[in-house]
């Protein structure tokens, strides 16, 4: 059986309860929620509300109707950026962002949005002082700061609480890409000053692919990206003003969201502290092992406590793609190689163009998996081509 160490892309496997919840929802009330008023559709709608409330509770969101379901974090980020930014607005972000942030901002820059990228240090850390300086440097107001909570390349955890609180005091919108942190690190939108939180359902929240969410703070009214049916006010030619309907056109992924609810329940039962400790133990094991392998260089904090969910490394004189191929082909070990959809981050840490080998253990990995990876690497590195 393959050893899966690419949980930063999506977590696999899921808890058994997630598979069961998806199956049962699809079988018992696989109808269209929010459409019609017969009992089966109401049952589906009640489930959707339960998921919304669970998400709100998990991230300390005061009003669950401000939770908008999307198909992934990328859609949520696009919705926030394209829905709120106008030509002439100024945005401050970092050099460590995933393409889910970088590409929409690149497109918005072409439409007249000013995008300022703050350089992180060599391990991917973005300093609050650098953000403050970038905001203050311009002679005009910055509309939004956009930051990933945890890098998908180096695992570096950013001090979003400190940055968010400052943004709140300055009246600057704060959008957090929680793709790598939701379900792994504590997130409180109120105390962290987060106005917009984008998260996937299918990573550390343990739901299935096809689920994601955007939290939109009270008072913000993003323009929809998609226009269409919302199940109510059908005579209205425009989209309704109310959230979440305004931003949720089309049929929702009821079965997927049932899985997300089961995933969140599982995370709650385990507890974030325990989940994080498990990851730290595995990453610590990995980092110690990597340091003993000749020619290996770790990119990122190289301290398990500060590594979030992933460790990236390179081996001198070797192509990461080749090592990834050999791990899969010979040892059935799944890791991610290359640029991880984050060229800016690789440019920052100096690993362009070939990228790194990224290892991201999940909740169901064990020390035995890490040991198998290290042994395989020892053999691969010892057998130079």
């Amino acid at each position: 059986m393959a050893i899966y160490l690419d949980n930063a892309a999506t977590t696999f496997p899921k808890p058994e309860s997630v598979y069961q919840a998806i199956d049962q929802a699809l079988r018992r009330f696989g109808v269209n929620p929010g459409r019609g008023s017969y009992r089966l559709t109401l049952e589906a709608s009640r489930l959707i509300l339960d998921v919304r409330e669970a998400v709100a509770d998990f991230f300390h969101i005061p009003d669950s109707s401000r939770v908008v379901f999307t198909s992934n974090a990328t859609e949520a980020i696009n919705l926030a950026l394209f829905g709120l930014l106008q030509p002439g607005d100024r945005v401050v972000t970092s050099s460590m962002e995933h393409n889910a942030v970088s590409r929409p901002l690149h497109a918005l820059a072409a439409r007249g949005v000013e995008v300022v990228r703050v350089q992180s240090d060599s391990v991917g850390q973005v300093s609050p002082a650098a953000i403050r300086k970038a905001v203050s440097a311009a002679g005009r107001k910055t509309r939004m700061v956009v930051l990933s909570h945890c890098s998908n390349v180096t695992g570096t955890i950013q001090p979003i609480g400190e940055i968010g609180s400052w943004c709140r005091r300055e009246g600057i919108l704060f959008l957090v890409d929680a793709a790598q942190s939701a379900g792994l690190l504590p997130i409180d939108v109120q105390t962290m000053g987060i106005d917009l939180l984008a998260a996937p359902g299918h990573k550390s929240l343990l739901g299935p692919p096809g689920t994601g969410l955007l939290y939109v703070a009270e008072g913000l009214q993003p323009a929809p990206l998609i226009f269409g049916g919302t199940g109510g006010n059908s005579l209205l030619p425009s989209m309704p003003e109310e959230l979440p309907e305004r931003l949720e056109s089309g049929t929702l992924n009821t079965a997927g969201l049932a899985g997300l609810l089961a995933g969140i329940d599982y995370v709650r039962q385990q507890g974030l502290e325990r989940i994080h400790s498990h990851k730290v133990a595995l990453l610590d094991h990995l980092l110690h092992g990597l340091r003993t392998l000749p020619g290996t260089r770790i990119h990122g904090p190289a301290m398990a406590e500060r590594n979030g969910s992933a460790v990236s490394f390179t081996v001198e004189g070797r192509d990461p793609a080749e090592i990834g191929y050999l791990l899969d082909d010979t040892y059935e070990i799944c890791v991610r190689t290359g640029l991880h959809c984050a060229a800016d981050a690789h440019r920052t840490i100096g690993t362009l163009p070939s990228g790194t080998i990224r290892v991201s253990p999940g909740l169901f990995n064990t020390p035995t998996d890490i040991e198998a990876l290290l042994k395989a690497l020892e053999t691969i590195i010892g057998n130079k081509p």
């Binding site: 709608s45 959707i48 509300l49 919304r52 919302t230 109510g232 005579l235 109310e242």
Partner: protein, 89 residues
């Protein structure tokens, strides 16, 4: 669908209607979501039906959760009549 003496409340959005139903059920108050009759809602909408004897308890519960409806109707002699939304909860 609505008997004489029955009340229906309309909310700002389907999600609000679902939230209201959940809150009331948790509080042990009888209510049911039904399709809003055409006299009171254009297009598709949900209405929350309940008995007039529960009106006070229901509005107190909804007010406490910031889930008050947008409109309220009562059925008398087969016709739905708009009612003032109670202000004292």
């Amino acid at each position: 669908m609505i008997s004489d003496g029955g009340l229906i409340a309309l909310f700002n959005s389907p999600t609000r209607a679902m939230q209201a139903e959940k809150v009331l059920r948790q509080a042990g108050l009888a209510c049911r979501l039904i399709p809003a009759p055409r006299e009171v809602a254009e297009g598709c909408a949900l209405a929350l039906r309940f008995d007039s004897t529960d009106q006070g308890s229901i509005f107190r519960e909804l007010a406490a959760r910031d889930l008050l409806p947008r409109r309220l109707y009562g059925k008398e002699q087969g016709a739905l009549t708009p009612l003032e939304l109670p202000t004292n909860h």
